[in-house]
């Protein structure tokens, strides 16, 4: 029994032990050979992916372990594998930045690996307790990562804001969880779901708890009205950390929403649906309109994150398997695109300052046509222009919204996507039609360039052949 438990949690155990190994090994690696730490951390991700893939191949759909606090299913396995891949890409992108800005430290790798462990715990959580602990593990590592550059005033300010608001949100979430525990008498998500199916689930206590849970989740997603932290943290954190925060934890947020609202409180769907409708609509409006006014590309991408998370919620609020699959597809597509967009900003930065102004992209097409073209494809995809990956992601969630009967919301989403296209296309305009001001040569290591090319071409290729990824997402919920 116990052995089976350990087998199911093998990827988690592996990541934990090897993260400790990386932590210790880094102490003995001299600063000029930090590449070794990078290599070790990447190897951890590769082997973890192999272990998870092996579990995915094994027969048996859903398996519980550790007294039902841990669950292994197809949804979790897919999300975990995508988390490893994204983190490996983040490592490669971040290395170039960290080297230039004198932040190339082992702590980046160990804290990222522990954050990954938190994400994995959240993905595989089947109890409120483990869900919360995973969330805290991710959050604590993220706070430290944001503050990693201690000489930066902006970074410290962002970390402080992130920490205080994050703790507040954790408190709200925990309060909601405790109310739900009080109403249902169980921490186990499956037991909560079973307990709710019997009664009508109209108890005031339960609804009260649900409101707190939704507010806590909304903060972690960074959607309106709990979005205040997103632009400041994205702006203040070092670019490599913004890249991290903007990608991998989004997968965890999706897992948090699905585990809590679908697995646990799925029977209260009628209660949380309206809340999500309001949150999604406000996020779409505010995210897209505020992004237009930004001159800083990090802030612009932060507001665009808010609107994209609003899009993701459109799939969730439908409450159907089709909707959840669409939300999952949207999240994975968004993570893929935003990693590339941040990577281009990293590419343009030199050791003196981050190229985080939209003006810094001026005339990129003349300075380096290939990477300007990559950025063009990424921006087209984020805007949701047909043929690219982002279009199919938007199409899926809007289709799910319409089939759930929210035609008005779907129209709002389409209108806001058009509004959003303005600021993405402005980037393209700046790159292609403005004269370059900065003429220093753009240089990056080979692995960085290769990955960015894969990332840029990928949004086109995955858009043309999106059915494979869509099938994968649908299979997670069937």
């Amino acid at each position: 029994m116990m052995l089976l438990d350990l087998q199911l949690a093998l990827p988690e155990i592996f990541v934990l032990t090897t993260a400790c190994v990386v932590l210790l090994a880094d102490l003995f690696i001299p600063a000029n050979r930090r590449g070794l730490t990078h290599l070790l951390a990447t190897l951890v991700l590769i082997f973890a992916a192999i272990l998870t893939a092996r579990l995915m191949m094994a027969p048996g759909e859903v398996a519980y372990a550790f007294s039902d606090t841990f669950v292994r299913d197809r949804f979790g396995d897919i999300l975990k594998i995508f988390s490893y891949l994204t983190l490996a890409a983040v490592f490669i992108y971040a290395k170039h930045y960290l080297r230039q800005f004198n932040l190339y430290k082992g702590e980046f790798y160990t804290l990222s690996l522990f954050a990954l462990l938190g994400i994995m715990v959240m993905i595989s959580a089947s109890s409120l307790l483990t869900l919360y602990l995973g969330l805290e593990l991710l959050a604590l590592s993220s706070y430290a990562l944001v503050a990693l550059n201690r000489d930066s005033l902006q970074g410290s300010e962002a970390a402080m804001k992130y920490f205080i608001l994050g703790s507040l949100a954790s408190g709200l979430l925990l309060y909601g969880m405790s109310l739900i525990y009080g109403a249902t008498g169980s921490l186990d998500l499956a037991a909560i779901s079973a307990g709710l199916s019997g009664s009508a689930g109209d108890s005031l206590l339960l609804t009260f708890g649900l409101v707190f849970v939704v507010v806590g989740v909304a903060f972690k997603l960074g959607v309106v009205p709990m979005h205040m932290w997103v632009p400041d943290v994205y702006h203040g954190a070092p670019l490599a950390i913004t890249l991290f925060i903007g990608t991998v934890p989004k997968i965890a947020s999706l897992a948090l929403v699905v585990r809590l609202l679908e697995d646990g409180l799925g029977n209260l769907h009628g209660d949380w649906q309206l809340m999500l409708v309001i949150i999604a609509a406000l996020s779409l409006i505010l995210g897209n309109l505020a992004a237009i006014a930004q001159t800083n590309i990090k802030r612009m991408l932060a507001y665009s994150t808010i609107s994209h998370m609003g899009f993701m919620l459109l799939g969730i609020l439908a409450g159907t398997n089709e909707g959840y699959a669409a939300a999952m597809f949207y999240t994975l597509a968004y993570v893929f695109m935003s990693a590339g967009a941040f990577a281009v900003v990293i590419l343009l930065s030199d050791g003196e300052r981050e190229a985080d102004q939209i003006e810094d992209l001026k005339g990129l097409a003349k300075r380096n046509p290939w990477y300007a073209f990559m950025m063009l494809m990424l921006m087209f995809s984020l805007a949701g222009i047909p043929v690219f990956l982002g279009f199919f992601a938007k199409w899926q969630v809007i289709a799910a919204t319409i089939s759930a009967g929210f035609t008005g919301l779907a129209i709002l989403a389409v209108v806001m996507a058009v509004v959003g296209a303005f600021y993405y296309l402005r980037i393209v305009k700046v790159m292609y039609f403005d004269e370059p001001e900065d003429t220093h040569v753009i240089a990056a290591p080979v692995d960085f360039k290769t990955l960015l090319t894969i990332n840029g071409v990928g949004v086109l290729a995955l858009g043309l052949f999106s059915s494979g990824l869509i099938k994968l997402c649908v299979s997670a919920f069937s």
């Binding site: 606090t69 702590e107 804290l111 430290a144």
Partner: protein
């Protein structure tokens, strides 16, 4: 039974008296020491309730670690008790108001509910161990959550060190191997000076050591 009651009232009296002293005593160091005493008395009352694990944890963690840290900080910061007296008088009306409101609320609860214990748990059989029961639950049903909580603490340590530890160039530290290998020529300088004729004050010259 009376023995237990006597012990309870003894510890309760010490607890209340020391808690009062924490806020009334002028010297902050005394206040912290009284807080230690009140924690300790509370731990003893928990022992009477058969919650021995909580009692031990309270003494170990709060008395042993947190309060010592508190004392350390109070002594380091050298918080004066001088202006506290004046502030105490200034805030007294509001403080009294809050205290009265709290007393009123307590009174309401006691008035409506009564102060009789509604449900007295059965005393545990002799030899029952809370620590054991807690441990059995923690290492079986909640093993996974327990391990994750441990990792959380590890991350907190790593984060704290990563954010505060920095190797400053101006920091001076000793290198024992360098100290041992030192030679006389590196540290001692012999200066020859003409000897003074008058007076007996000129006998300390010639050597400068470090």
């Amino acid at each position: 039974m009376p023995i237990i009651e006597i012990v309870f009232y003894l510890f309760a009296a010490v607890l209340v008296a020391s808690a009062l002293s924490v806020v009334t005593v002028g010297n902050p160091v005394y206040a912290v020491l009284f807080l230690v005493l009140s924690f300790f008395s509370a731990a003893c009352i928990w022992l009477l309730l058969e919650a021995e694990f909580l009692a031990i944890i309270l003494v170990l963690v709060y008395v042993g670690a947190v309060m010592v840290l508190f004392l350390f900080v109070v002594m380091m910061l050298d918080v004066g008790g001088g202006q506290k007296k004046a502030q105490f008088a200034r805030y007294l009306p509001v403080g009294l108001l809050v205290a009265l409101a709290m007393a009123g609320q307590l009174f309401l609860v006691i008035w409506t509910q009564g102060f009789e214990a509604q449900f007295m748990p059965e005393p545990y059989p002799e030899g029952f161990s809370h620590t054991r029961a807690l441990g059995e639950l923690l290492y079986t049903d909640y093993l996974y959550a327990f391990e994750i909580a441990a990792v959380l603490l590890l991350v907190a340590i790593i984060a704290a060190i990563a954010l505060t530890h920095r190797r400053r160039p101006e920091t001076r530290y000793q290198d024992p191997s360098e100290q041992i290998k030192v030679r006389k020529a590196e540290r001692v300088r012999l200066v020859s000076m003409p000897s003074e004729k008058e007076g007996a004050s000129g006998n300390g010259n010639g050597q400068e050591g470090s």
